[in-house]
Symmetry: C3
Subunit: 138 residues, 3 copies
């Protein structure tokens, strides 16, 4: 049995972090699936989906870490291809990964108490974003 949902929202770009947990929980509940797997699939090449404790401190620490590991004020070869100046956003996306998959048990995604599923928009501008949620199981 499968069930899918599309989550749509607007981001501010520049490392904006959106908590998807409630919408993923809701998609799993609607699916009627009690045991299985859920894949949370960010669509695009300048985004990521991962988990963090969604609290104000880490909401600043995560973008700061990305800026340290993959600075935005450096010219990348990607920028020579398109001239859109977001090479760093592409690299952050490739490093963190665009999808998050976890188990479904008792009609809920398996997560820790302080573990939220988050969408990261690394692009250098506001974007309309879509995340495809696929639930599969019985």
């Amino acid at each position: 049995m499968t069930h899918s949902d599309m989550i749509e929202f607007k981001t501010k770009g520049d490392g904006d972090i959106v908590d998807l947990t409630d919408k993923v929980r809701s998609a799993v509940e609607k699916s009627g699936i009690s045991s299985g797997i859920v894949s949370v699939c960010g669509i695009g090449s300048t985004v990521a989906v991962t988990t963090i404790e969604y609290e104000p401190g880490l909401q600043k620490d995560v973008p700061a870490l990305m800026e340290k590991l993959i600075p935005s004020n450096v010219t990348y070869q990607h920028d020579a291809t398109w001239g859109d100046g977001n090479g760093y956003a592409h690299l952050r996306s490739a490093l963190v990964g665009t999808t998050f998959t976890t188990a479904v048990e008792s009609k809920a995604p398996v997560l820790g108490t302080w573990q939220q599923i988050v969408f990261l928009d690394f692009d250098n501008r506001s974007r309309q974003r879509r995340v495809f949620v696929q639930v599969i199981g019985e």
Copy 2:
């Protein structure tokens, strides 16, 4: 068809690495599923699940890499929120990712010969940990 197992163990924290491969293999065998997908889901926001060749050298290299990329002796905004001093552990978890998903073929997880599924505990103290293993297929 789905089958799930909970793996429970104690870690030492501070980058402790636990080889989960045998327990995941065993969960897949018990499932009776010969073809499908297995998700190995670390529970918590200061942990990771990935694959390495589980040998003594890399067991030192992986924590050393984490210390270089995301030092533990720096104050993060997260630490201001809770005062537990483990902001670096949260960031490492978000970067590496808490779950690992691979195919199941011939009643076994698809892995290379020198590729083991490992749990990383980045927290700054010993913890009781749980990993949820979900097998789905036919």
Copy 3:
């Protein structure tokens, strides 16, 4: 319902990037599955599977980023174990991750327009590589 395919190819090593998107699309089409999940599983401990916009600039930026984060001209403890000098390749693999999982919708993997599924070979020599593609759904 499940369907699996093995993709086999030769790489040049040293950060070589192979675009797997067409072969993954083809595996999904052959499966007859219209809604589900696809796991693209790189086999080995010196490889990664992730997504990037597969264009010439990023094909240089990704290896350059890896070289910056995890330099190849440093001696790692792993090298003391085996003497094969590819400790950096193992660490890059553990950080990026060897598998990529996304949803299947309308008989195709869910991806952005500029988002390709790529295989990264971090090893220090040419290798024969295998990627196992598992499709599951209905």
